[in-house]
């Protein structure tokens, strides 16, 4: 973190956390549910598969259950709308803070190829894990903490504990 100018451009983490906490509280108060992200990916996958092979989704349990709950369209889901908002919000924020930049970020000692493969595998693992964990860092860990859900807090500890446990083996990718 030699680049001071960039570091100071970000919001104070405690202020950001406080605002995020208020937003989460407002979300729970208004909608009775927390924030999330991976659920939107799930909707996207189901919508895609349903469009390509409707016969398949009509038979496989996982799709069938989801489609039963979303009779109109698998994309008509709260989290899909929320994530569209996230993309808009982050884009606006990047625009204002001058951070819009098409770039492939990676550690100093690895090639772009390695970063592409690791991002793809990392994403796949996160997507798979979020299904098992019934939510990701937002939906399970953060929102779970707000309502003091045992499952949410367990998942949170497993995510961060797991990442710390594996960090050593992948240090060359980042440091």
């Amino acid at each position: 973190m030699q680049n001071h100018a960039e570091a100071t451009k970000y919001m104070n983490p405690y202020l950001a956390g406080f605002l995020l906490g208020l937003l989460l509280l407002a979300t729970i108060f208004i909608t009775g549910r927390g924030l999330g992200a991976s659920g939107a990916v799930k909707s996207g996958v189901i919508a895609t598969v349903n469009a390509v092979t409707p016969e398949h989704t009509a038979n496989a349990t996982f799709y069938k259950d989801y489609l039963k709950e979303h009779e109109n369209s698998p994309l008509k889901n709260w989290l899909v709308f929320e994530v569209i908002g996230v993309v808009i919000g982050a884009f606006l924020s990047g625009l204002v803070s001058n951070r819009l930049n098409l770039v492939l970020e990676h550690g100093p000692h690895i090639q772009s190829k390695v970063r592409i493969v690791s991002a793809l595998i990392g994403g796949a693992l996160f997507g798979l894990g979020a299904q098992l964990g019934r939510g990701c860092t937002s939906g399970s860990a953060l929102s779970g903490m707000a309502v003091l859900s045992t499952g949410g807090l367990l998942t949170m500890m497993a995510i961060f504990g797991g990442a710390y446990a594996f960090a050593y083996f992948f240090r060359k990718m980042w440091l």
Binding site: A16, G17, L20, L23, L25, F29, I30, T31, G32, R33, L35, G39, V41, K42, A60, T61, F62, F81, E82, V83, V87, A90, F91, L92, S93, R99, L102, V103, L104, E105, H106, A119, G123, A124, L125, F126, G127, L128, A130, L132, G133, R134, G139, S140, L142, S143, M145, A146, V147, L148, S149, G151, T155, M157, A158, I159, G162, A163, A167, F170
Partner: protein
């Protein structure tokens, strides 16, 4: 009052709300620096603990908010989505996500932020996430066993640990403050520079003070529901309240007269209610009065409520709970249902009918004995349809 969906905000409008909340979520995440994987994985190599600071502060803030709103009756926690606990699936899923985090450098929410400002690796991560969900969906029969194993329902952590909510909130706050302090030291060591501390003392000290005070308040802020329900068991506590009483004669008269202004609230448990109750009575136990649905039923404008229970004392106790929850226009059935049974349903005419009043009462009770019994019999077959309010389904 809360959650506002679906009564105050319709399910359709909720999608617009989702979009607005999402925009705010995106702005905060991006402004905090969650749109770059370098900052995110800094947490795991000790050079940047922004994630921990933001995450913990947000969690603790929202937790205090939820506790306070529930305590003051603004939020019905029974209607809020509490992530269910499936022990093994939660742990296995978490570990897999942990590996995904360190490999991919993002989590789903942050990857959308990164992608929005042009991070190609974040876009690839999202593509990966689609593949991951697809693998789960296709392999679901294989994962199903693990996915559904050790279902513990939706407990809250303090219940699981067997401590009070306040104590857990306090401990979590202390842990957060301790972590904030500790990671600042680690961060300075790892970076080997005296870089400006992101938590200068002048900010950190007051923040710590606020957090600790909040934690202590939570510690001594007992859960309102359990306190109140325990208090009303005490006769002396209940006797401090003033009640409007209604005699069995008046109540039965109003029932037979089909007086629509009065709603009879039967506060006994469901079993007793099913076995015997007065015609038209609504079953709401003191514990249920804290639920949003019951609050609505108890606050219909222009209605007066008659609280009934087996004895007068338990009726008064239930009335105290209702009064504390802001229900006006309450009367308590004098003598309780026991009195209705002895004075009317099993009416034995007294030997002395010398006064005018005694004669009138006797006439009324004789008539009521027959008519009330008929009406009860008629109502027994009427199935009382209880409106169930479902919890919101959340999660990912």
């Amino acid at each position: 009052m809360g959650p506002l969906v679906p009564d105050i905000i319709s399910n359709e409008l909720n999608f617009i709300v989702a979009l607005v909340i999402g925009v705010a979520f995106g702005i905060i995440l991006e402004q905090a620096g969650f749109s770059t994987s370098k900052k995110l994985v800094g947490l795991f190599y000790g050079y940047d603990f922004t994630v921990l600071r933001v995450f913990f502060t947000a969690g603790v803030t929202a937790m205090f908010g939820v506790i306070a709103l529930t305590h003051y009756g603004f939020l019905d926690i029974g209607l809020v989505y509490i992530n269910p606990t499936f022990l093994w699936s939660a742990l296995a899923g978490g570990l897999i996500m942990g590996l995904g985090f360190i490999l991919g450098g993002y989590c789903p929410g942050t990857s959308f932020c990164g992608a929005a400002i042009g991070k190609i690796d974040a876009m690839i991560f999202i593509g990966g996430a689609f593949i991951g969900v697809f693998i789960f969906a296709e392999g679901y029969p294989m994962f199903e066993g693990l996915y559904k194993a050790a279902n513990m329902g939706s407990p809250q952590i303090f219940e699981t640990l067997g401590m009070s909510q306040g104590l857990f909130a306090f401990l979590l706050t202390v842990m957060a403050v301790g972590a904030f302090w500790g990671v600042s030291i680690i961060e300075r060591k790892v970076n080997k520079v005296d870089k400006p501390d992101p938590t200068p003392a002048r900010l950190f000290v007051p923040l710590t003070a606020v957090a600790v005070v909040l934690g202590i308040i939570a510690l001594f802020l007992p859960e309102r529901k359990s306190t109140l329900l325990a208090d009303v068991k005490d006769k002396e506590y209940v006797s401090e309240y003033q009640f409007k009483m209604m005699t069995p004669d008046e109540l039965v008269f109003r029932i037979l007269d089909e007086d629509k202004k009065y709603v009879v609230i039967d506060t006994r448990d469901e079993k007793s209610f099913a076995a015997f109750t007065l015609p038209g009575a609504v079953n709401i136990t003191p514990a249920q009065m804290f639920e949003k649905q019951s609050k609505k039923q108890l606050n219909i404008r222009g209605k007066k409520y008659v609280i009934i229970a087996d004895t007068e004392q338990s009726g008064k106790a239930a009335a105290v709970v209702a009064m504390n929850l802001g229900v006006d226009e309450i009367s308590v059935l004098a003598g309780g249902l026991d009195a209705v049974k002895s004075q009317i349903l099993n009416y034995q005419p007294p030997t002395d009918l010398s006064t005018r009043q005694a004669k009138d009462t006797d006439l009324f009770r004789k008539r009521a004995q027959v008519e009330l019994a008929q009406l009860i019999e008629k109502n027994k077959n009427k199935k009382v349809v209880k409106k169930e309010v479902k919890r919101v389904l959340g999660g990912c």
